[in-house]
């Protein structure tokens, strides 16, 4: 399957933060959700993908091209949405369009107008008066108006009201119909991904944990609940993370079938949410932290 984004053994370190041997590939024609807690490297990764940062080592390629030789060609094919305002505050949408549209070879005024109508965006109001939701709609309008093949979004749904979040997800879903577009977006609102993501890429502390098809995650991972006396040094090895309470334990396994075989009917096995997976992975890294509730 063709990859649109390919990160290979990418390392990048700042003061007190490091991306380690990050290898990610994002498949063409699908929506990939990019999850991880705050400060684990999601925005840094997105900046690396957009060439806003250069890796210390490793390679970043998009559409099979690299930024050194094809920077403009690559950026022509990307639509981007960042968390927060990146426009000139004292300008209006019309001004911004005049500034941004000449940059793109494939700019399409009719699409722009269509989204402006659909989102009911004011063309003559200063951007600084826009609410968070309007800002997001404006960003999205620009991202979609030049027939971009790849849409990259950094936390697009954070701070949005639930109604617009759903609308946004519908729009993204509709965009995918022709199979030519690819969407890569980071979020920590994992319920958004339940609706639309085909793949999930999970990073923690600057390290890639997994990239998996969404349905595979549900097949493989499971939340296991049972009494604490079932746990010993061997059985604990079965889990990625365990949370012990006064009433029993709750744990995450990445091999549902095996866990079922080991514990049988003595435990309850449930479908995990992405949040469970994030939480227990973090816990597992901190080595079985205890919490009493």
């Amino acid at each position: 399957m063709e990859s649109v984004i390919e990160l290979n053994q990418v390392n990048k370190s700042f003061n007190g933060f490091q991306l380690k041997d990050l290898s990610i590939s994002v498949k063409k024609g699908f929506i990939t959700g990019f999850i991880g807690g705050n400060g684990v490297g999601k925005s840094t990764t997105i900046k690396l993908i957009m060439n806003l940062l250069q890796p210390d080592s490793g390679t970043v390629s998009l559409f099979g091209l690299n930024y050194k030789t094809h920077e403009k060609e690559i950026k022509q094919r990307i639509g981007f949405v960042f968390d927060g305002n990146i426009f000139y505050e004292n300008s209006t949408l019309v001004d911004m369009k005049q500034m941004i549209s000449p940059a793109y070879n494939n700019w399409d005024d009719s699409i722009f107008d269509q989204y402006v109508d659909m989102f009911e965006l004011p063309l003559k109001k200063k951007i600084k008066t826009f609410s968070k939701g309007m800002m997001m709609k404006a960003s999205l309008t620009f991202a979609l108006s030049h027939h971009a093949e790849l849409i990259i979004m950094d936390e697009p749904t954070s701070g949005l009201d639930p109604i617009f979040r759903r609308e946004l997800l519908d729009i993204l879903h509709n965009l995918m119909q022709d199979g030519e577009k690819t969407i890569f977006f980071s979020t920590h609102i994992t319920t958004d991904l339940d609706r639309i993501a085909d793949y999930i890429t999970f990073i923690h502390n600057g390290q890639h944990q997994f990239t998996k098809a969404y349905y595979k995650i549900e097949e493989n991972y499971a939340i296991v609940k049972g009494e604490t006396n079932l746990l010993d040094r061997d059985t604990e090895q079965e889990f990625l993370g365990i949370r012990k309470t006064n009433y029993g334990f709750e744990a995450l396994t990445s091999n549902r079938q095996r866990t079922e075989n080991i514990f049988g009917d003595t435990v309850v096995i449930e479908k995990p949410t992405l949040e469970d997976i994030m939480l227990y992975t973090k816990k597992g890294k901190e080595r079985y932290a205890k919490s009493y509730s």
Binding site: F82, G84, N85, I86, Y88, S91, D95, P102, A103
Partner: protein
């Protein structure tokens, strides 16, 4: 890259509508060569630095770098833009002076203005890419205060001295010297340009 310069013009259009009449009013009242020289320099540097500072926010850098431009183009657009703004102010002054006082501005005077502005920018741009134009602003306020203090206490005739120097420079007849100055200024600008590209290439937003 032309798109980036066009963007700056679009962003700046309102300020122009205010600046142009201001420039004309000043021309109308100020007639001496020194004052025209002085005011041209202030207008040139003012416009160029305002245009520059609008793009300084890291969010705007995020936008510009995410659009299909390279970092070289973003920096170069500022250097080429500066020349365009300067040409614009000088043209306005020349035309204004011709209309109001029916006399042409001396080419030597234009050269002097251009040289001073270019020298200023050659230092200011790399400095601002490395730090922020706000510091430069603070520095100029301090310098201005210092100037006031000097004029009022130490060298009372500082303005006259400057005026004399300007007159002396403008009355020189040595073409070779002018050529040498022009070349040095151009060289300085090019070096500053290359330096800014290097600084901006490593910048993190």
């Amino acid at each position: 890259m032309l798109n980036l310069i066009r963007k700056d013009i679009l962003l700046q259009k309102n300020e122009f509508l205010i600046l142009l009449p201001a420039l004309f009013i000043y021309l109308f009242f100020g007639t001496s060569i020194t004052s025209i020289t002085w005011i041209s320099i202030v207008f040139c540097i003012g416009i160029i630095m305002v245009v520059f500072s609008k793009d300084e926010k890291s969010s705007i850098n995020l936008l510009l770098n995410a659009l299909p431009y390279t970092r070289n183009e973003i920096v170069s657009s500022k250097y080429i833009g500066a020349i365009i703004w300067m040409a614009f102010v000088l043209l306005t002054i020349s035309v204004g002076n011709w209309i109001m006082h029916s006399e042409m501005v001396q080419w030597k005077q234009l050269l002097l203005i251009t040289s001073i502005v270019v020298i200023f920018i050659s230092f200011a741009f790399p400095f601002c890419y490395l730090f922020k134009s706000r510091y430069l602003m603070n520095a100029s306020i301090v310098l201005f205060c210092l100037y006031l203090v000097i004029v009022n206490t130490f060298i009372v005739d500082l303005n006259d001295r400057i005026r004399n120097i300007v007159h002396t420079i403008l009355s020189l007849e040595n073409t070779q010297l002018y050529l040498f100055v022009t070349l040095s200024v151009v060289l300085l600008y090019v070096i500053s340009w290359i330096l800014s590209i290097r600084i901006y290439r490593r910048k993190v937003f």
